[in-house]
Subunit: 451 residues, 2 copies
Amino acid sequence: MSVQDTEFFRPLFTALAANDDSQIQIAASTFNAADLADFIEAHPEADTGIRLLNALPKEQGGKVLGYIGPTPQTLIAQQLPTRSLTELVTAMPSDERADFFQLLDEQRQHSLFQSLASKEREDLRRLASFEEGTAGALMSSDYAMINTGVTASAAIDLLRKTAPDKETIYHAYVVDEDHTLLGAVSLRNLITATPSASVNDLIATGLVTANTHTPQEEVARLISRYDLLALPIVDHDNRLVGIVTYDDAMDAAEAEATEDMHKGATVGKLTGTLRDASPFSLYRSRVQWLVILVFANIFTGAGIAYFEGIISEHIALLFFMPLLVASAGNAGAQSATLMVRGMATGDVTVTDWGRLLGKETLVATGLGLTMAAAVMVVGLLRAGPEIATVVAVTMIVVVMVGSLIGMLLPFLLDKLKFDPATASTPLITTIADVSGVLIYFSIATALLDIS
Amino acid sequence: MSVQDTEFFRPLFTALAANDDSQIQIAASTFNAADLADFIEAHPEADTGIRLLNALPKEQGGKVLGYIGPTPQTLIAQQLPTRSLTELVTAMPSDERADFFQLLDEQRQHSLFQSLASKEREDLRRLASFEEGTAGALMSSDYAMINTGVTASAAIDLLRKTAPDKETIYHAYVVDEDHTLLGAVSLRNLITATPSASVNDLIATGLVTANTHTPQEEVARLISRYDLLALPIVDHDNRLVGIVTYDDAMDAAEAEATEDMHKGATVGKLTGTLRDASPFSLYRSRVQWLVILVFANIFTGAGIAYFEGIISEHIALLFFMPLLVASAGNAGAQSATLMVRGMATGDVTVTDWGRLLGKETLVATGLGLTMAAAVMVVGLLRAGPEIATVVAVTMIVVVMVGSLIGMLLPFLLDKLKFDPATASTPLITTIADVSGVLIYFSIATALLDIS
């Protein structure tokens, strides 16, 4: 913890030193839950962080616990007696609670489960049953619900009473007796309506929903596209089962973008942040693809071995080899990155591929010609007109081939039900390396033998 | 537009064919603004999209216009008479209005400016004055404001009356007579409070603010960290000047992630989506770095030329060159990507660099040893023990060098006030290529000369 942080948290340190719960509560009340979580993460020892967590009103404590990262959450769970833990867990938002529960060992899960009230227990069982990465795993059951037919003023009264337990009261969902979702009504519409108006007449049009199996990326995309505060999640009978709030969707979208970037550099899934990750987990996330690529690169070596004859005859060809294969790889990395990100944000769909292929061919031709002109100059200065021609022609071909591989591979992976982000830069570069070497020396063999 | 979309928008097509404004309005009322914007984008001709936009109530029309992308927005501005355009622009959210205004040519800006009411004119002038990429350029002036000392019930009444013009009424800002920001009060707290309570007693603690110069990424990070609905923006005297809402922050964060990914593959800034970008703008965004990298790669060629002697003596060394330089590049790309993304999300700060350097050295040593073992086997099979040893030793060194370059370059760029994302994969790969070639043949010269 830096000096700056020590200054920022001074009131908390003072109150904790005085060892007076009410003073701690007053000091804590001037901080945000996210900041208190940071403080506790930085002081996991029982006499500082844990003591703060214990002193907080349970409502606030539950919220703070929800903001703490998985590793320190586990530490805290080990240090707290079941009784305090149960109170905190009961106060946690339902979606955070389900995630926290997954972290505990079996014995701890069992004892916590026994001590929870039946409502929380049922809720936990249900939320824990959804697959990681789906709307079900992200959703919260703390939504505000109104029965069909009540008046606006009755609805406001209900929201006022139930506010403390809900993720948001700014949107309430109108359901019939079977819990079927009829629509959503905003608090904005409720307070601007005539008090006697029926909520059914205030239902917003164009309600967007998702189901429990919808992938998280799609949930984030819907919330972002329609600027929603929360997305209602329904089961196969259109019964409301939960909501995903914009803040959880934002976190999921950020995690998704991070994962896509890491995949783009063949880094596997990391638990926690880069700062907290252990050297071994970093090693594990990186080693697999590096070793795979070592074996893939052996083909490039084999390609060079095959053309040993022409190389020893024209050793100057060798000087341009790194440049040509790097150019193919770079052009391929550009088009793959554009395509992978476009597919992730929903800007590009598989139905666009024909039109994009035409455009990419045009762009790649332009890029190839420009780079051929640049390299022609260098070739003339260093190796004479014959080799300069070989290098320039090769440049055009390899930039086009690299770009097209970079564009097509993400589509192909998507068609085969793989994540397009697997079309990572190192993979594209390796493919471009092998094809670049083969194309270069084939063109050299053809052109230099004739002359 | 696909068959699916035609089916989805059937009620609109029917109403537009009937050419009856009230029927068009009824059909449009069942769609979201974002969907209507898509429809208009797909039909920019005057007889479909524009006719729909004209038929919508101005309130809804302004909202829909805000969802339309820059290129079709410009087209629409050209086709609408100033009078209709003025009405639509007046109804637009203030932040969208300022962005839209920037797109128009000078003459059109002038005529639109003249026809706007003085309130909108003043607002536009102010919002347009902030630099692109700052909180000022992202903020809206449609925030809900309450004077200090009023009661909760008076505040609710005020919010109810002003609701239609505000981005959000779920948070209202309490200001004194000088417009100094005293705090924020949530509608949730207002409706659950005693009606006679003073808003000053309901102010939420730990108010997070930013100023007009705060970078957009920082704004998005604050909103995401504290799960805010809106972030109040103040000037240097702590006077409230605007708010940035979570949905605009989400869009900014997404755009930022896209820009970082594109930078990671040396793709320059694109206006609009990949699907809409013209071949020339794609060419322009990609060519610059490719040509720079062509010249950078000439050093690799020069390195090979320098070691021509040892290469022609041991031509088998050549087979392993692509593999070794690719491994250095891949390891470097991994660590650069981890670092760049960590810095973008705020997980990693410059103060962490010492600790991360130690961890990276450990991880890189592990990776180097693993890859050396893999390549040793291949080397023994294809080139005998002497070259296998050279290749294995080189692998350890280049993986470590590549990883450390990948880790340090983003920090260095940040220190020099450049965007760390400029430490792109192709740049790291190129540096790794040059150093890989030099290290490989230096080690070969040393070990093979002795033996």
